[in-house]
């Protein structure tokens, strides 16, 4: 294996700094996912702004898309709520800009599908995302085979491109998946969609150990983590635990029949994030 496989092409950004400080603290991080502007821009901004104080170490911000093929019902529904609330690529970047006026350190990784970015225009998107304070991208439907589309331009623009690795990524394929990966490795612990089954702990342990043999980048584990206890299990072996559907579901539970946010919902969701953070922070204690 060549040395550059494990090097982070963007070694001086917020993501690298955050993982370095987590390492110094001797704990894993909590990565929280919410969909931008679910169910409306104001709620989306309030939630986003509240996440760091609630214990989110990194933030994945979902860019809503009509056809989220890799997502389960919770995130699909949240995407459609956000779109119905008027969310767009431009407004997602506005949320990030708003966040950056209050928080200069917490990394934000935009997660979504390629078509809205392609439609916005790759170069313009990267320039605007960088200027808004976006640190990385996770684009589900861009495997290494399509790196020329966005991954290479993103790295050139100084925006990390975080790849998903999965149980189906075998040893033969892994080097290709790790090439051009930047920021951290996102290990999808199940073959499936978001928010459904949870992986067995032993399988996660083995998978993280295998990835660590191939890369020096931090390894985050996600898909199917629903409770503080599950987050703690993952945080024992991985550099970060990703929770998405459970948070999004908590938000959905706080909406009224018309889809409007009930009073106290944002606080409730942030309270849940605090519980998750407690699990992650206590994992290696």
């Amino acid at each position: 294996m060549s040395a550059d496989l494990s090097a982070d092409p963007i070694s001086d950004g917020r993501i690298a700094r955050r993982f370095a400080s987590l390492k110094a603290e001797g704990r894993a991080g909590l990565i929280t996912f919410i969909t931008a502007g679910d169910p409306d821009a104001a709620t989306g901004q309030a939630l986003l702004d509240g996440l760091p104080a609630a214990g989110a170490d990194l933030i994945e911000l979902g860019m809503p898309f009509t056809d989220p093929m890799a997502d389960g019902p919770a995130i699909q529904a949240s995407s459609l709520r956000a779109l119905a609330g008027g969310m767009s690529v431009r407004r997602t970047l506005e949320l990030v800009r708003g966040f950056r006026t209050k928080d200069a350190d917490t990394p934000i990784i935009l997660m979504g599908y390629y078509n809205p970015i392609d439609s916005y225009g790759v170069d313009r998107f990267l320039a605007d995302a960088k200027a808004a304070g976006v640190d990385g991208l996770i684009v589900v439907d861009l495997p290494p085979e399509e790196d020329d589309e966005l991954c290479i331009p993103a790295l050139k623009a100084g925006v990390s491109f975080v790849r998903l690795t999965t149980p189906t990524t075998d040893d033969q394929r892994l080097p290709a998946v790790l090439t051009n990966n930047s920021g951290f490795i996102y290990y999808v612990s199940i073959a499936g969609i978001t928010g459904t089954a949870s992986a067995a702990n032993t399988a996660v342990d083995a998978a993280v150990a295998r990835l660590k043999r191939h890369t020096a980048l931090p390894v985050a584990v996600g898909f199917g983590i629903k409770t503080p206890a599950q987050a703690a299990e993952v945080a024992r072996v991985a550099d970060a635990a990703v929770v998405g559907s459970a948070i999004v579901t908590r938000l959905a539970d706080g909406l009224d029949a018309g889809g409007k946010v009930r009073p106290g919902t944002v606080e409730d969701v942030l309270g849940f994030v605090r519980e998750l953070a407690g699990g992650v922070r206590g994992a290696r204690g």
Partner: protein, 405 residues
């Protein structure tokens, strides 16, 4: 500008037809997609695979089906000499079975034990359920709830054939959502499941696989026309949703410069009526990325996918096969569109003049024939792909004509 020396050499090794196509799928599926590609290449090189497929197409599907001179329609329109390629006479009543026979043999060759598919009008679902019954494999068909309501006979057919029909309630509950749901199933059951995609779209190598299996349509037309008229046809016409029957008819003729080709999209209530009133991805959309490939799509200015409308459930997909996008940009094939009203009129005309009730999808192609044939000389040989029969559509046609059954 580079003029390709062949229109039939695509795609390249990464699945691109010009800028279209590609493999835009989640990492979980990539290893499997690469496996499918490898298995397909090996299968095509194996005479045993080809032999079994040919045997089934002959004995089970009933191929070759006729290239039929539509004499009364020709007289009625008073111009070009019109032939129908009778795909509606295939077992299961449409061209979809051609591809399903090929893909299930590929699935078996790969050792897969479970089949999934998406369906819009239900023709591909029926064809898939049929080959699963034939080869004794469990089968799950994803179908939008909206389509289930308007294609009840096909839903029942699939169930009779032993398939499980899963209603898709996400999104707009039509074909694109059925495809999303099938992809979600595939990601989850990647080890044992083969996804039989029904149209010439999706991630590479699917557009190529479907095209190759459907090219038997054009291959037969070529030899049948040679036998009947001693020459090549002058024009080929086929409806285009995803575009599998069209690419199957066109592909063997792409390098014959004298053969004119027209793909007919669904104009719904009219392309100029608004973005939600039609399903014409090429005529009324713009390029983007969905369901594994770059191609023309119905989308808004933010890149969100729009729901197409067509009277035909088989044409209201918001995308089109990537090879069609390339053939459009290169100018080799012309893409026109027919409205719901034009298709309904063609549907009735075909029934009365030829005694053939066509599928509403095929009626879109026929609407184009009705527009063009009268302007052409009597020695112009025009071939319409009559891709499916219309039994499944009689209820919705009756409804549109204000008849209660």
């Amino acid at each position: 500008m580079t003029i390709p020396n062949s229109y039939r050499s695509g795609p390249d090794e990464r699945g691109h037809f010009g800028v279209y196509g590609g493999r835009f799928v989640a990492e979980t599926l990539m290893p499997l997609i690469l496996d499918v590609e490898k298995a397909y290449r090996e299968a095509r090189a194996d005479p045993a695979f080809e032999g079994e497929m040919r045997q089934q197409l002959k004995q089970y599907v009933g191929r070759p089906n006729p290239l039929y001179y539509a004499e009364r329609l020709t007289q009625h329109l008073g111009g070009a000499k019109i032939y129908f390629k009778r795909e509606e006479l295939n077992h299961t009543g449409a061209h979809k079975i051609n591809n399903c026979i090929g893909q299930i043999l590929l699935a078996r060759r790969m050792g897969k034990t479970r089949i999934i598919a998406e369906t819009g009008a239900g023709q591909h679902g029926v064809a898939t359920a049929t080959v699963c019954a034939l080869y004794d494999m469990p089968c799950v068909i994803y179908m939008g709830e909206t389509d289930i309501a308007r294609q009840a006979p096909n839903v029942f057919r699939m169930k009779l054939l032993g398939a499980e029909v899963r209603a898709v309630t996400s999104g707009a509950k039509t074909l694109k959502d059925a495809m999303n749901e099938a992809l979600r199933d595939w990601v989850t059951n990647v080890a044992d499941t083969f996804y039989i995609i029904g149209t010439a779209a999706g991630p590479h190598p699917y557009p190529t696989i479907v095209r190759d299996f459907q090219s038997i349509i054009g291959d037969e037309v070529r030899s049948q026309m040679q036998e009947l008229e001693g020459r090549l046809p002058d024009s080929l016409i086929a409806c285009v949703g995803g575009g599998s029957n069209a690419i199957g008819l066109f592909h063997p003729f792409l390098d014959e410069p004298t053969v004119k080709m027209v793909g007919v999209e669904a104009a719904g209530r009219g392309i100029d009526k608004g973005p939600l009133d039609h399903a014409a991805s090429i005529n009324g959309g713009r390029p983007g990325v969905l369901h594994g490939n770059r191609t023309y799509l119905l989308q808004d200015e933010d890149g969100q996918i729009l729901e197409g409308h067509s009277i035909s459930a088989g044409l209201d997909y918001p995308g089109v096969g990537p090879e069609h996008s390339w053939l459009h940009d290169s100018g080799r094939v012309e893409y026109s569109a027919a409205t719901d009203a034009e298709a309904l009129e063609a549907f009735q005309l075909c029934a009365r003049t030829e005694g053939i009730i066509p599928a509403l999808e095929s009626a879109h192609g026929l609407a184009e024939v009705i527009k063009r044939a009268p302007t052409l000389p009597k020695d112009h040989l025009m071939v319409l792909c009559l891709s499916g029969r219309g039994d499944k559509d009689i209820f919705s046609v009756a409804q549109h004509l204000g008849v209660s059954l």
